[in-house]
């Protein structure tokens, strides 16, 4: 019974496609509150976000049950709000993760959901809508739909401009996406301006050496790389890899220390943790691998820099519990150091490799 007939829908009630808002012809049988214009969009939505939130949508889209008291009603409303807020964040993170993984097509439905819930909760002209607009813009950019991306960005920019209490983090995101837009449009002048703004705002919000600021540096580096200003791009890439290395290495060292101190207490194992959410992990992988691919051709000239990236990647994968990849990067780093660098560096990497292989042999239950 997943087919519905638009003409049979009661008058005044409009069932629209979850993805494109066209009149609906199908319904999700699992939750029965989500409609689609056709199997294509249903499949797209299912693959992107619906599978994860299908059941969560039911309480949001059915009418509220009858409450006996005002108190209960208030409570119910609060619950609803909470659910919606949770969904906003969840959809947002999922979409972000898709974006960093390069699955732009998949990101669109998730981002749309985030945007829709935001509209419900915060109203149409709230700054809260901006992150969702930005996601959509980024997805559109990834799909090569520059005009559409610009549309979203203009929307976001206007919202930010009108609001008086926009956080630095939002400003930073907006400028980052504007920068990406102008990169796509090959307007490097503008792109640099916006990315500079991005870094400035991100620094105000998180500090200059934060992983959340590193994205701005990375894109700026890409611009300079595209402009063939290798020296500039190089220092920026170094900066980005250093930021990530410091962050991940801190986590790694903390983990090792915690293990060495309390390993036999209740036999409790410490779970590897990057301290990042999925989107940030995806971002880290994307940034670091692309830096690596840039570094690799010149690794004989400046092995130190390549080794740093390899080491960072290895630690990252190790913390993400993907030991085989961690091992691969670590051994690549080792072979590079054996060729070019001193013993001290080698021993550091050997130690890392050791720890990874121990982990590999005894996988956590």
């Amino acid at each position: 019974m997943n087919v519905i007939y638009p003409l049979a829908v009661p008058k005044g009630r409009r069932l629209v496609c979850e993805v494109c808002e066209a009149p609906a012809e199908r319904m999700c049988t699992a939750c029965t509150v989500t409609y689609y214009c056709g199997p294509v969009h249903q499949k797209a939505d299912w693959g992107s976000i619906h599978e994860k939130i299908c059941q969560l949508l039911i309480p949001l889209r059915t009418t509220m049950p009858f409450y006996n008291s005002e108190e209960e009603r208030q409570h119910g409303l609060q619950q609803l709000q909470k659910r919606q807020k949770h969904l906003i964040e969840f959809c947002y993170t999922v979409a972000q993760k898709y974006l960093f993984e390069g699955r732009h097509e998949d990101a669109v439905p998730a981002a749309l959901h985030s945007l829709r819930f935001r509209m419900n909760v915060h109203g149409l002209s709230s700054v809260e809508l901006v992150p969702a607009y930005l996601l959509l813009a980024e997805a559109s950019l990834g799909l090569g739909r520059i005009v559409q991306a610009e549309e979203y960005l203009s929307q976001a920019r206007w919202t930010v401009l009108k609001s008086t209490d926009c956080s630095n983090a939002t400003h930073s995101l907006l400028h980052r996406n504007l920068g990406l837009l102008y990169i796509a449009k090959e307007n490097h002048e503008e792109a640099r301006y916006h990315l500079a703004n991005d870094i400035y705002f991100a620094s105000c919000a998180f500090g200059t050496e934060d992983i959340r600021t590193s994205g701005g540096y990375f894109h700026l580096a890409n611009v300079f790389h595209g402009l063939n200003k290798m020296g500039l791009a190089d220092t920026l890439y170094t900066k980005v890899s250093e930021i990530w290395y410091t962050y991940l290495n801190d986590h790694y060292q903390a983990l090792l220390q915690a293990r060495s101190q309390q390993t036999d207490l209740l036999g409790k194992q410490f779970v590897n943790d990057t301290g990042l959410d999925e989107a940030q992990e995806a971002e880290a992988i994307q940034i670091l691998t692309s830096i690596l691919s840039i570094r690799e051709p010149t690794s004989s000239k400046a092995p130190q820099k390549t080794v740093l990236v390899l080491k960072t990647l290895s630690i990252l994968y190790y913390l993400m519990l993907e030991c085989s990849k961690a091992k691969e990067y670590a051994s690549r780093a080792l072979s590079l150091t054996e060729e070019h660098l001193d013993v001290q560096e080698q021993s550091v990497i050997k130690e890392l490799l050791n720890i990874i292989s121990i982990e590999e042999e005894q996988p956590l239950t």
Partner: protein
Amino acid sequence: MTSGETRSPMSAFPPVPVTRTRLAILAREKLPCSPRTIPRAQLIKEKDDIDHYLEKNFKGLSKEEVAAHRNSYKKSICVEMLRDGYHKSFTELFALTEQWDALRRAAEVRSLFWLQRPLEEQPDKLDNFYHYLTRAEAAERQEYYEEVYNNLYALACYFDNPEDKWVRNHFYERCFKIAQRIKFDGGKKEAEAQAHMGLLFEEEGELLEAAQHYEAFHELTQGRIWKDETGQLLNLLACESLVRIYRLLSDRMLENKDYKQAIKILMKASDIAKEGSDRTMEGEAALFLGSAHLAAGEYETALTVLRRYSEIAESVGDDLNLGKAYEAIAKVLQSQGQTTEAIEYLEKFVKIARNNFQSLDVIHACTMLGDIYNEKGQYSTASEYFQQAFSTAVELMKTALMDETKVHYGIARAHQMMMTMTNYIESADLDSLNCLLSWKESRTQIKYDPVLGLTRRATEDDIYHYPDTQEEITRSPDNQ
């Protein structure tokens, strides 16, 4: 929210053909509002064109100008840096402004009144930051470390005022780090940087650290003929700084009564001063060493060192230092109890000070002389010297000094009169009693009769010009 691309094909119908009059078509073309059939993409493109056109042909505000009005100057500067990829400069500037905030907050906690304006509100300073930091970074990228150093040093110099001392210190530290990478100039920059670091620590009162840096500075400049901007030899500068810092260190040790260490350090200082081949400095080092020996109670060594000092001063023809030397020697002699020699030296000192119009020294020397005579019991000479000291102080119009000398003078006069008084009292005859009574009446005149009633001189002056010899005679029974 979604555009035509994701929309299913059934929603996009071809436009319905409508027959229109010619005028209607024309009007449609001319009318500002566009028909719905134009895709949004085209609209956006047109808007871009319009923007571009407006920007070019109308002298309104450009995007940069708008940004400049909307944003703070600090932000504009930061963005300007980042645009050209000067991320290190940005980081540095950003860190500095944050540090400023932290300083202010700390001051607020201690509820100090914070007068400084924030860096953000001082565009000229920000401009300087931009100028030098970006140039330094560009040079660093190309590994011209000397250029980097020069730029950073220029910044440090620019912030060399009491308000921005912390900024200057920051750049001194940066200079120091960079200077260690400059190799081909033989370490001149490094030496300079060491000197700055030394100065930095000296100002903060961390003398040991400062001494370390100055030592490094000295070592680096040894045997070199480098000169600084003012044409001074760096080596000489190093010696001077090192001697100064050693002196401060030894002062601190003397305060803690750690004489051995102090003397050790001052010996080092005088060695270095000798090396610096600047006689004045050498002399000064000797003076301090001498004083330290004196404080430690090693009078003989102190004397030899100080004699050398006076020799040096004499050979240079430096009266000031010669005076100081005499003073120091006199002090040593005084504490040894050789008062006559001490007086000799002090008299020389007074003469020199007089000749050079060093009123403070004159006062000092006269007071010392007065003290010695006081101790020896030659009260009239003592009061004479104290009077000299007092009148010089009056000339100088320094109340504190005046008060001090006044007291000394008064005490000496009292001592002087005491003798006569006791004589009168001891003699216990009518005349003496009368004399005492009349003195008590007026408190100004007292008649003195050395041989008890034989000759009575009535003038006040006479009392004060009591011959020393007689004083000695009268005192002699007590002394024995």
